[in-house]
Amino acid sequence: MKWLHKDLLDVSQLSRSEVMAIFETAGRFQELQERPVKKVPTLKGRSVILFFAEPSTRTKTSFDVAGKRLSADTFSLAKSSSSLTKGESLKDTALTLQAMAPDAIVIRHWCSGAARFLADRLECSVINAGDGRHAHPTQALLDAFTLHQEWGDLAGKTVLILGDIAHSRVARSNVILLNKLGARVRICGPRTLLPPAVRTWNAKIFSNLDEAVKGVDAVMCLRLQLERQKQGLLPDLREYARTFGLARRHVDLANQDVRILHPGPLNRGVEISSELADCADSLILDQVSSGVVVRMALLFLYMTRKGEE
């Protein structure tokens, strides 16, 4: 498939068939991961800069592993070591990165729209690894890929996204992508943690978790940032865990074989019970391995784009 996009800013840019092409490519890389030697020379000589202006361990490591398995050279620029802490503007950082002539930049930033800001100014591909509350397309793709591996097809399935939707780029991208793939989306969380115009989204809204889980095929738990309580959005964690934390009794209300996902890192006993995180229905570790192959597929498609023109 000829890849037309320079940048991956959000899943809204992708057509259904492009998503399928990503899954197909990821599927091929997954076979590779079962071999003793997991590395291929596909992107030998190409370079990827991992620019993380916000702390992240798993996404950054995932991209790093993905790049290295494709033989690309990966370079990390983290906020703690970058000049961003010395007051350099994002524009200047962008120009500096540009001058190093990478083939792709993976950006994580705490401001919504930061990936677009970079993409507008750089000639290389920009892959959004999470911008503020806005979008996290690679997470949504790996979540959908994980479910796709389980079910073969997401069409007609019902997926519940549970927790802090308002501050979640994972939720925003997932609502768009799941709808694109034909799934029915439900959202559940306290009103204080829902986006103001959530009712205009293509999702059914619940404030009662017992109601929300009835008949769902998968539940995606979101991490609760513990500072939400200090911001006056929640009374306390105990009340949140007892009201919106996913527990065994909810699984019993859902469809048989309900799948449980979580983008990590977990707050055990807050948004998900410890028992559920470790149970057989949990796909949490499958998500991590999907993450590597989906990111391999993305790096491959975006970085070989020019060669196909």
Partner: protein, 427 residues
């Protein structure tokens, strides 16, 4: 007839070709244009093919001097005003130091006299509280004597209703109106984006329209209770408009302004393909919905909103070329306001009467400023205007140092050719 100093020949005034006679800075007569005329000793300005409009008044600008001269200074701000058609400019107090004592006011007036001795006229707005901190009243008697035409805590809403009430009462002793920037101090202050569908999709912290409307209702109730006028700055939404209309119907002495951007733009701009997350459209209060825009237009036409103001808020290019969350709020407006609003008159969105009232008679009545209605004795403040001249908004085309406008790159219609203030040609 008194000795005529200036005759403006064959200018188009509200559909008529007129000759305007000026004596000692004042309008002496406006007559139907004649073919030939002996000017005597008077200067003659040929205006054939040009429209003449009374100079505009802008009661809400930020000129940034002293303290932020890299964004704008009094010289460049008044130049933008002169070319923008404005003869009276009221500048806000959020300078550094804040305009909360006579020396700062005097410095502003001194700079204006030095760089633009013939106008535009500068009328500083004094701080309502010391340092705009909302704790102690500013010395308003001193500020009024130094030349402040009004008082405001613009941009920094006063949290305490008690302090605000005291300030409104104290200001009234010096016959000065208080201008309030209506924004609940706790509901996501200065987010620069409207809370709603667009902000939810873009994932931006946002300000709901009720944050404005709640303060509007507080001010209306206080104004009514104290029987003292209060002027509401830059009204942006339908909820506020409805409250003001209801208040005026029962005789509350409330007045209000809106800006060209609330008449012409909506939050959708921030989600459009080319301008997604464009920080030049980050402004406080934020661009609202189409329903709000329509309500603001209707309210301006029916007089619920008294006047127009630019809320001219220049910033350096590099300050706006940053992440959306980091960018300061504000749109530069003095250079574009006339074109944008006259286009609305031509399109039939605003009536000519509304335009004239909103930019001249209403603001001058509220703040007691000189105004030209082309009646003998009025100050000879007017400009000659080529309605059809197209121009492109480029950084070079703007006289202001502030280039932060979402209109950058667009084609506008209408340019000031010559501007007279008190009968003297300023540009």
């Amino acid at each position: 007839m008194a000795k005529i100093d200036l005759i403006v020949r064959r200018a188009r005034l509200d559909g008529r070709d007129v000759d305007i006679f000026v004596s000692r800075g004042k309008i002496e007569a406006v007559r139907k244009s004649v073919k030939t005329l002996d000017p005597g000793d008077a200067k003659v300005e040929e205006a054939f093919g040009l429209t003449v409009l009374p100079s505009l008044t802008d009661v809400h600008v930020h000129l940034r001097e002293p303290g932020f001269e890299y964004k704008e200074d009094i010289e460049s701000g008044l130049r933008a005003a002169a070319w923008g058609g404005f003869s009276n400019i009221m500048c806000m107090a959020n300078t550094k130091p804040v305009n909360d004592c006579a020396p700062v006011t005097e410095l502003m007036l001194e700079k204006a006299r030095r760089y633009w001795p013939k106008g535009p006229r500068l009328f500083p707005i004094g701080a309502l509280t010391k340092g705009l901190k909302g704790k102690e009243l500013a010395p308003m008697a001193e500020l009024a004597r130094a030349g402040c035409a009004a008082f405001s805590n613009d941009g920094v809403p006063i949290e305490s209703s008690k302090i605000f009430r005291n300030a409104v009462e104290y200001a009234s002793d010096w016959d000065r109106v208080v201008i309030d920037h209506c924004e609940d101090p706790y509901l996501d202050v200065a987010a620069g984006v409207n809370e709603g569908e667009v902000s939810s999709r873009l994932g931006l912290p946002a300000q709901p329209d009720v944050a404005e409307a709640m303060q509007v209702s507080r001010d209306i109730l206080l104004s009514e209770y104290l029987d003292i006028p209060i002027h509401l700055a830059h009204i942006s939404c339908k909820k506020s408009v409805d409250l003001i209309r209801f208040a005026k119907a029962r005789g509350v002495k409330i007045t209000a302004e809106t800006t060209p951007h609330y008449l012409t733009m909506t939050e959708d701009f921030l989600e459009a393909e080319e301008t997604e997350y464009d920080t030049n459209a980050k402004v406080n209060p934020p661009l609202r919905t189409e329903a709000d825009r329509q309500a603001v237009i209707e309210a301006l036409n029916d007089g619920t909103l008294d006047c127009l103001a630019t809320d001219h808020a220049p910033h350096a290019v590099y300050e706006k070329e940053v992440e959306f969350d980091v960018a300061p709020c504000g749109i530069t407006g003095l250079d574009t306001a006339l074109s944008v609003t006259w286009e609305l008159v031509r399109e039939g969105v605003l009536t000519r009467e509304t335009f004239i009232r909103a930019w001249t008679t209403a603001p001058c009545a509220i703040f007691n400023l000189p105004v030209n209605t082309f009646v003998p004795g009025d100050p000879a403040d007017f400009f000659l205007f080529d309605e059809d001249q197209e121009w492109i908004v480029t950084p070079e085309a703007l006289h202001s140092k502030g280039k932060n406008t979402p209109l950058m790159g667009t084609v506008r219609k209408g340019r000031v050719k010559t501007h007279f203030i008190a009968g003297k040609k300023i540009v």
